[in-house]
Amino acid sequence: MIDLLFYLLIFPGLLFTAVLGLVVGWVDRKVSARFQYRVGPPFFQNFNDFFKLLGKQTIIVKDSVKSMFISAPLVSFGTLSLLAMLIGLPLFFGQSFGGDIFVVMYLMVIHSVMVVLGGSSTGNVYSSLGAGREIKLVLADELIFIIVILIPIVASGYELELAALIKAQSSGAFIGSVNGVIGFLAGLLCMQAKMTMQPFDIPEAETEIVEGPLMEYSGPLLGFWKLNHFMMYVVYPFLLILLYLGGFNLQGWGILWAVLKYLLIVVLMIILKNTNPRLQIDTALKFFWKILFPVVLIGLILAVLGV
């Protein structure tokens, strides 16, 4: 029992993910600033932002559905903590806990659902517009994401447990094969869409619909939305590492190797973010369904054939 609470609240779960997420969020802002020849924010910027938001006044919109408006960011926060634990346990301790990969798949949708509920509960025009766009984006990327998860399952000989997936890669990570490379790259683009980062920041387009679903949020609730976004910087790359890069080996030089794996994914995401303009929603749907879907399907067939 104490073990479980420790896992959930401290090490792979809430505290670790939140702190690492805020630090990586700083890396994102700093690297983005350097891309634009700026200096960028100081190291503790995201911590300051979060603590500042915790102390601000919360305004609850009069016409909103109050229970939904308040619970959406908190439920999303809880889900992401749980997800961090579910993915972190096999990565750091080599043991599966509770659920297999399907649980992870379902839990990952909950954040998007909460964004939709929270955004549409306010009654603001921009918020509901953003919520609608979020639904379309989920429709676009979910199919690819399922196949991206299917490829390692097939390649490992139909293992569903997360720890077994890592064990199947002990002789060589899945990215070493052709289907692994296809799956990894498609997975990277899917993560980009799930985190609503550029070029897929369609629901939260800041210059266009003013952060969309988050527009009416203020104070601590907004702080939790921001924290959720930073926690996704940890959870989603960890999942990709688990599925394609063979997990972590935390002995000796393995620690450095683990950090490099994580940074590789994060830096790839930041480069993608900074070199691409925002797509329109129909272009994004077309990109995912017409271009990426056949490619990952070929990857899946290659995985079945064992190439």
Binding site: V39, P41, F51
Partner: protein, 139 residues
Amino acid sequence: MSWYNKRLAKSLWVFHVSASPCNNCDIEILDLLTPKYDIERFGIKLVGSIRHADVMLVSGIVNQKIEPRIKRLYSQAPKPIFVVAIGSCMSSQGVFRESYNRCKEVKEVVPVDMWIPGCPPKPEAMIEGVAKLIGVLNE
């Protein structure tokens, strides 16, 4: 409370209200985000919604149409919020002082915490103003 004020001083999110300006100040405000001045060094960022803001930046003259909107924006903002008035039009109504459609001075509409005069104020002047605000918060 001083601990919280220090956090606040390090992450001021700014919402920009264009209260019928001549766009001169607005362009200079946008200069602050460019690589040369880069105000994100101080943790300041421009946000699109007043609900996220800590600083309400007002520029222009206050005429009949914009007055209720400034009032409404101020009431919609989560407290604590600071109002910074940019430009000579705000502090003395500038060349529009004798104009037929001017309404009130901004201090009669919302409580103003800081004035940054100039037509338009240089970006350096605005950074100095912001630094003074941060200094007050840090005390």
